[in-house]
Symmetry: C2
């Protein structure tokens, strides 16, 4: 069947009937959420176990079950590999892995896929695992990629039932309260897996810093935690940045960031109470910096800035340019420190941030947001998952959630990467539909979605270089070399879910290149 | 049928089959929790309504439905009366009222009961409403009293389905985030109704201080809130103390408090990491003060102190005698201010504090707790709900939850109130079973539950006046006048639930006095 964007979607995959994407806000959920397991414990019962193996034993984890992890350590995570190694040693097979995201550090997982320990993955696959899945297709079922809010929704809706949630916790107490902002190796908020802890049949907190009761803030609550395991290492906080955190020095990219900030200034949204999302890519960071400078110049006090938290946002908070930062994850140690110290730097879970099946997302209160793309097309559709060579290399993150919510969603992209074009006729994979994209800013000018005629007029009045997207594309194409076009097989290796649980696109196996 | 304490319990009331109390920790829940309704909203939708009537209309509230409220304004609450008046004006009938607690300020509710607007009440009835129900029996079904943790459990378990939760919020934003510690008239944490907000079909936040987005901390989240109503007044914060907050000046009561603190010192629990609950009655407050002084003298640093928060606990925190205060409610303005300012004064919801159907309660980590009683009996059973005249005048509060959890639960009581005896052969109503009561401290000596021989030995070694409870009773009885004994009718006017959802006792209609 074809979805509303004309993308071909299978009717069914395994036992799962797919719902095709119908539009960014076309779904109205009516069913009840899934129910959570009842649990109890008596006073004095010990919940602390001495190894991951012991926890696997205690939880009754067995073949075919689903295990989950959070990604707050990003490329510094050590728990996924430890836990899967333990599963492999214990002879477990056919597990479904449900991480919030995988990173290059999780490359050892490929062996576990080859050996049948892991046969399904639902979660973002950044880097080698994604490439392996794209080419190898060794999984028993297609991967499922969801946005931050989409994943939360899926757990609450019962689309994914977690058997055992393993939660890397920089600080925990012997009763299972845990947080990510304190401890020996803090990684920032760990509320991505709060929903896992609440809904999983069994929840295991794994920490390298067990402190006397109570560990707080209560990102994870004792009432949800079945077991606590103390290990030597859970993650390397130096690696959480994953190379996303340098403000770009490229003159082209700085130009894009400057244009993006000028677009915000011209939009009419940059007034007292202005709410914005920073983003963590090089261009987004620079644009955030420039917007902060504009706010200071204009004497504006914003409402909230939304993270991933960075030193840049913390500086903006400390300068009094916003009242509060809302953060679901931290991208550097300055943000983590601020989360500990600043009462106006507040942890926000993805349910609050971005859950479609709720009475409101923080993203819906955004005035402006800067987001990236691997590709955009002439319908303003955005791809952040695959490269033009067809390979699945990135997760969705909050892209869909933020783009859906912000009054002005700005995609900041260079027109060329190497000599590959970024603006194409039709994106390889649709992550986020054009209907929620307002502005595309490139070094060759600013394209405005025809749905936003009002913005276009404001930009023109401000003397900004507004151009048609197809003109920008045409100009860029003169400098590109033809991209290495992928040849796709029939096999669907991943589903891209829209945040409401419908399927917006599929990713097919790459069987070669033209 | 008879429950484990020999109390007669009806098998069924209306359509509800009752489960008899079997022991403090005899229940092992196995079912799933109730599921929550799916909700959604589109960006830009307005959720702010201009009156409670409009909210009643919008929620579809109709005859026979269940509405809920929190009690964080205690005797200063203005919302329950406003909302019920609105329901009455709109012709609604047969409502089930599900407050966390009612206070003397809610006396106007009696008219609504007489007029059939309210026909059932599940929640604590402190004062006139309780007395009216005891004597009048005008409700269609018995009231149900639950502990703080028991109420949370009941909602999660699906025992009570809330149609509309009305949440008095000292501060809220237009998207429905709300808290109780800021705003024009802060009342302290409002997390008693967090579970209502999550599980209710419709949630209405009623505030007198609507602030720009976002209002935080997120005690109530936007995602749960259907509507926000702005009114002039929701409560009088000066009244939250309800007269519970003066340290006693009675020499007899000070003696009890002193003995209780000496018992704690002698217990062996008063070492580094000592965790305790303060309580808010006059004797408990004094005992808490004395324990704080002991800790300072001994150079001990405790783990957590558990509220209701008071200036006394805040002082103990500021003196460095405990690492953190965990608070579900505030009993004075000093506690509210500290909740805003002190990072180590942490809001705790009743789910975390006391939910039996969870993998751990904060009360289970208590070393010592001071609690009150209207009566105790020779089996160490405690009554906090009825007076010896049979009238239902008080709620359970956290009594059951704390007593179940604390390693040493100390009941502090005078042996006489006026000339009425407090120690009786068998309590009028069992609120909390003797199996979880460790020590009863009176001005005539300390009685130790035979289950706690070890404590008795320690007290004797410390030279404390340990006596048999029946000896204390006998001595006191010489000074009492015979209490006005109630004559009970057959009609059960209230069920006292144990925190696991079983029925520990019933309260019958008082039809006269001997």
């Amino acid at each position: 069947m074809k979805n509303a964007l004309g993308r071909e979607i299978p009717e069914q995959i395994g036992e799962r009937e797919l719902r095709p994407f119908k539009g960014a806000f076309a779904t109205t959920p009516t069913a009840q959420k899934a129910s959570r397991p009842q649990k109890t414990v008596k006073p004095g019962e010990n919940k602390v176990l001495s190894s991951i193996e012991e926890a696997i034993e205690a939880t009754g984890l067995s073949d075919g079950m689903t295990i989950s992890f959070h990604h707050s350590f990003r490329n510094g995570d050590l728990l996924v590999n430890q836990a899967l190694d333990a599963c492999a040693r214990m002879g477990l097979k056919d597990l479904r892995l449900f991480p919030t995201a995988l990173f290059p550090v999780h490359e050892p997982l490929i062996e576990h896929i080859k050996n049948g320990v892991v046969t399904r993955i639902e979660g973002s696959m950044n880097g080698p695992v994604g490439a392996f899945v794209s080419q190898g297709g060794k999984l028993k079922a297609p991967g499922v990629l969801r946005s931050h809010g989409g994943r939360w929704r899926a757990v609450e809706a019962g689309d994914v039932k977690i058997d055992v949630a393993f939660i890397a916790a920089p600080q925990a107490d012997p009763y299972g309260n845990a947080n990510g902002i304190k401890g020996k190796t803090p990684c920032g908020p760990i509320t991505f897996c709060t929903v896992d802890a609440m809904y999983a049949e069994k929840t295991v907190v794994v920490t390298n810093d067990l402190v006397p009761y109570p560990a707080y803030p209560f990102e994870i609550q004792q009432g949800w935690t079945d077991y606590i395991v103390v290990v030597n290492e859970i993650g390397d906080p130096e690696s959480i940045a994953s190379g996303t955190l340098m403000i770009t020095r490229s003159p082209t990219r700085l130009k894009i960031a400057r244009l993006a900030s000028e677009a915000v200034r011209a939009s009419g949204y940059l007034v007292d109470g202005f709410n914005f999302q920073g983003g963590a890519g090089g261009i987004s960071l620079a644009a955030t910096k420039f917007v902060g400078e504009e706010m200071a110049k204009l004497g504006i006090v914003g409402g909230f800035a939304m993270g991933g938290g960075t030193r840049l946002l913390v500086d903006i908070l400390h300068q009094g340019l916003v009242r509060v930062i809302l953060d679901g994850q931290a991208f550097d140690t300055a943000a983590i420190e601020s989360l500990r110290e600043d009462q106006n730097h507040v942890i926000m879970d993805p349910g609050q941030y971005a859950n479609y099946d709720s009475r409101g997302c923080s993203t819906y209160m955004l005035d402006a947001a800067f987001l990236g793309a691997t590709e955009v097309d002439l319908d303003f559709n955005v791809n952040v998952n695959t490269h033009s060579d067809g390979q699945l290399l990135h997760g969705i993150g909050g892209h869909q959630d933020v783009a859906s919510g912000a009054k002005m969603t700005v995609i900041t992209i260079p027109t060329l990467r190497g000599r590959l074009p970024v603006i194409v006729d039709s994106v390889t994979t649709v992550t986020t539909p054009g209907e929620v994209i307002d502005v595309i800013v490139t070094e060759r000018g600013i394209a405005v979605n025809p749905r936003r005629e009002n913005l276009k007029e404001r930009f023109l009045a401000a003397g900004l270089p507004v151009r048609e997207l197809k003109e920008i594309k045409k100009e860029a194409n003169r400098l590109t070399r033809p991209p290495r076009k992928p040849i796709f097989g029939d096999e669907v290796i991943a589903l891209i879910e829209w945040r409401d649980g419908t399927v917006i696109d599929t990713v097919r196996k790459v069987i070669g290149w033209e």
